[in-house]
């Protein structure tokens, strides 16, 4: 019955021949990239191996593939996009001086067995792909003829491989790379958010569907239909709407949880980098028209709340604040004022689907806060500018002398600056300079980027090798 005579046999014979050629070509290309040595670490080769092994085994088992499943194999062979990530991760295309330091920083949260591919994309955005191996495994597990155990054995490790991307034209803009904290958030919380949401969805789906269906039944145009048509339309529309509610709510929880992780680890630098990047976009757009992402103003509000210790310190004038960081804090206060408008929430409430979704999001917020805290146990509090103001001020002094802000103190009593401290110092320095000269960026910003990148690299080197050098110096 599934095999008609309407040309299917011709289509399947042609497809089978084409798939064999495509899979073999994909495997050859993947192998070439796998053998390339021009990568900052071994992760890109691992991803190339995943594609190669998948393509090779799909080709090898093509004879056993039932006719009706050839299109599924064709869909899987469209995984060549992953080779683009491999190709873009060559040393010459990445801000290589911060790659090792960033990897060490990320491993602190993700685990020593985690590997990263940090590569540029020709899109003005940051991104991360998690669960690449798991997604392949899940998809391949549906092919009952496919040798999954052999695939697992040949592909090797990979459970903890993460592909992080940044905007190609911002390669040098290390201050903006504080957005990588958000991507770290995806890595360490996304699966937990999904699991937590799946349980919640199981409980709430029926009532949400019922409310949406009632809305559809109450629609004036619906009343004009015949009874049979009414129920048909209600079923289709309610299914669609409920699925949209699920997508919008899940995306909101995934993004805001990742935002919270980002701001916990990078503090005000995370708020600043998100605020700066989103000024170019519509900040109140409804999630439904925006790939299900929460409005920017909504996200900035959450980040500003997380930075409230620093922001309250300056707004309530209760504490001595170093003059070097005041312009940065005042700029951040303006972001908080910007988020006091509820125009984003009005936009969300204007659509029953997003309104339903954010009802769910609000119910899940406490759970998500706990989830963030349990995911980064050493960072219960957000990195604070005010608490670290002495060190940050010293680093700003170095920047003013055009010296990389990689350490504080005087040799040999030095303390290498952490990645988060360097980024916050650079942001504070930038805003201090801009407060004195609005056109400062035009001539000086690239120098700041280079000093910052150098500082990150030097700090990594002195953290890793410094203790041995000091030991040798003291012995002499």
């Amino acid at each position: 019955m599934c095999q008609g005579n309407d040309g299917k046999e011709w289509q399947q014979n042609t497809l089978r021949r084409e798939l064999l050629r495509q899979a073999s070509g994909l495997a050859v290309t993947a192998r070439k990239l796998e053998e390339n040595q021009d990568y900052p670490n071994k992760s890109p080769q691992s991803l190339a191996r995943l594609v190669r092994v998948t393509a090779e085994l799909l080709a090898k088992t093509l004879e056993d593939t039932p006719d009706g499943r050839l299109k599924h194999v064709a869909t899987l062979l469209c995984c060549d996009e992953f080779l683009r990530i491999v190709e873009h991760s060559r040393v010459s295309l990445t801000p290589w001086s911060m790659i090792q330091a960033t990897e060490v920083f990320l491993r602190k949260y993700v685990g020593d067995d985690a590997y990263f591919i940090i590569s540029p994309e020709w899109n003005y955005n940051y991104g991360v792909r998690t669960g690449v191996f798991a997604a392949f495994e899940k998809a391949l597990s549906g092919l009952e003829w496919f040798p999954l155990d052999e695939w697992r054995k040949e592909v090797g490790w990979g459970e903890k491989l993460f592909c992080i991307s940044f905007p190609r034209i911002e390669k040098l803009n290390v201050l903006l790379h504080a957005n990588l904290g958000h991507e770290l958030g995806h890595i360490i919380t996304q699966r937990k958010v999904e699991v937590s949401f799946e349980k919640m969805w199981l409980e709430k789906e029926a009532e949400i569907k019922e409310r949406l269906k009632n809305l559809i039944r109450g629609d004036a145009s619906f009343e004009a239909m015949g009874d049979l048509l009414k129920e048909t339309v209600a079923e289709i529309k309610a299914s669609d709407d409920t699925e949209k509610v699920r997508q919008v709510a899940l995306q909101a929880l995934i993004e805001t949880t990742a935002d919270k992780v980002g701001v916990r680890v990078f503090g005000p630098a995370a708020l600043a980098s998100m605020a700066e990047i989103c000024t170019r976009w519509h900040v109140d757009i409804n999630p439904i028209g925006n790939g299900n992402y929460p409005p920017w103003r909504y996200r900035l509000r959450i980040l500003a709340q997380e930075c409230s210790r620093d922001l309250d310190a300056i707004s309530q004038n209760e504490q001595r604040i170093h003059a070097d960081i005041v312009p940065f804090l005042e700029w951040l206060l303006k972001i908080r004022e910007f988020t006091s408008s509820a125009t984003d929430m009005k936009e969300i409430q204007s659509n029953p689907i997003s309104a339903e979704a954010y009802k769910l999001v609000n119910q899940a917020l406490d759970d998500m806060n706990e989830l963030v805290t349990s995911s980064i146990p050493d960072e219960k509090k957000t990195f604070s500018l005010v608490e670290n103001q002495e060190e940050i001020s010293e680093l700003i002094g170095r920047l003013e002398d055009q010296v990389p802000p990689n350490e504080s103190g005087i040799w040999p009593d030095i303390k290498p600056a952490s990645l988060e401290t360097i980024l916050n110092a650079c942001w504070a320095y930038k805003l201090k300079e801009i407060s004195q000269d609005k056109s400062w960026c035009e001539k000086n910003i690239e120098r700041l980027f280079r000093l910052c990148l150098k500082a990150i690299e030097s700090s990594y080197v002195s953290t890793t090798f410094g203790p041995k050098l000091i030991e040798a110096y003291l012995q002499d």
Binding site: G68, K71, H72, T75, G131, K138, N179, V195, L202, E243
Partner: protein
């Protein structure tokens, strides 16, 4: 961000439904179900009963794991879209669609063992599963056309 694993879930559903469609055709032709066939039909029955929320059994979530619940929500719009199109053709063969679905789902849940459906009805059901599978697959493949522009936000 969500897309990769979600696509994998939809892919898995599509490929298993296609397999189930082939199994139904074989059973309609007189073949006895193997253990592999029984497993895939049971899985299909569980998924469909969760997907089709017009069924009374839908309310009973005891045998549903949360992963399948979200998988069911993701495929549901395609299910109804496929169902109503298929129903136009099928209503000549199965005048009482409610009874037919009840028998069909219970047949699937039994792993293809307890059948009160005729071989013609099994063929009809196979056609439905195949169409459902193909429609799901088209949701995650580009179908040969250029991808839409990416949403300009960072993931």
């Amino acid at each position: 961000m969500v897309e990769l694993l979600e696509s994998a879930h939809i892919f898995e559903a599509s490929t298993k439904l296609q397999f189930a469609a082939t199994c139904l055709s074989k059973i309609a032709g007189g073949e006895k179900p193997t253990q592999q066939t029984r497993d895939i039909l049971t899985w299909t029955g569980t998924l469909l009963m969760r997907v089709d929320w017009r069924r009374d059994e839908w309310a009973s979530a005891a045998y549903i794991n949360p992963v399948m619940a979200t998988q069911a929500t993701a495929v549901r719009p395609v299910f109804f879209e496929t169902f109503f199109k298929w129903f136009k053709e099928a209503k000549r063969e199965v005048p009482d669609i409610g009874d037919f679905l009840k028998l069909f789902y219970s047949f699937l849940r039994s792993g293809g063992v307890e059948s009160k459906l005729t071989s013609e009805q099994l063929d009809l059901a196979a056609q439905f599963l195949q169409a459902f599978s193909e429609n799901l697959l088209s949701r995650i493949s580009t179908n040969g056309i250029p991808k839409p522009n990416p949403v300009p936000v960072f993931a």
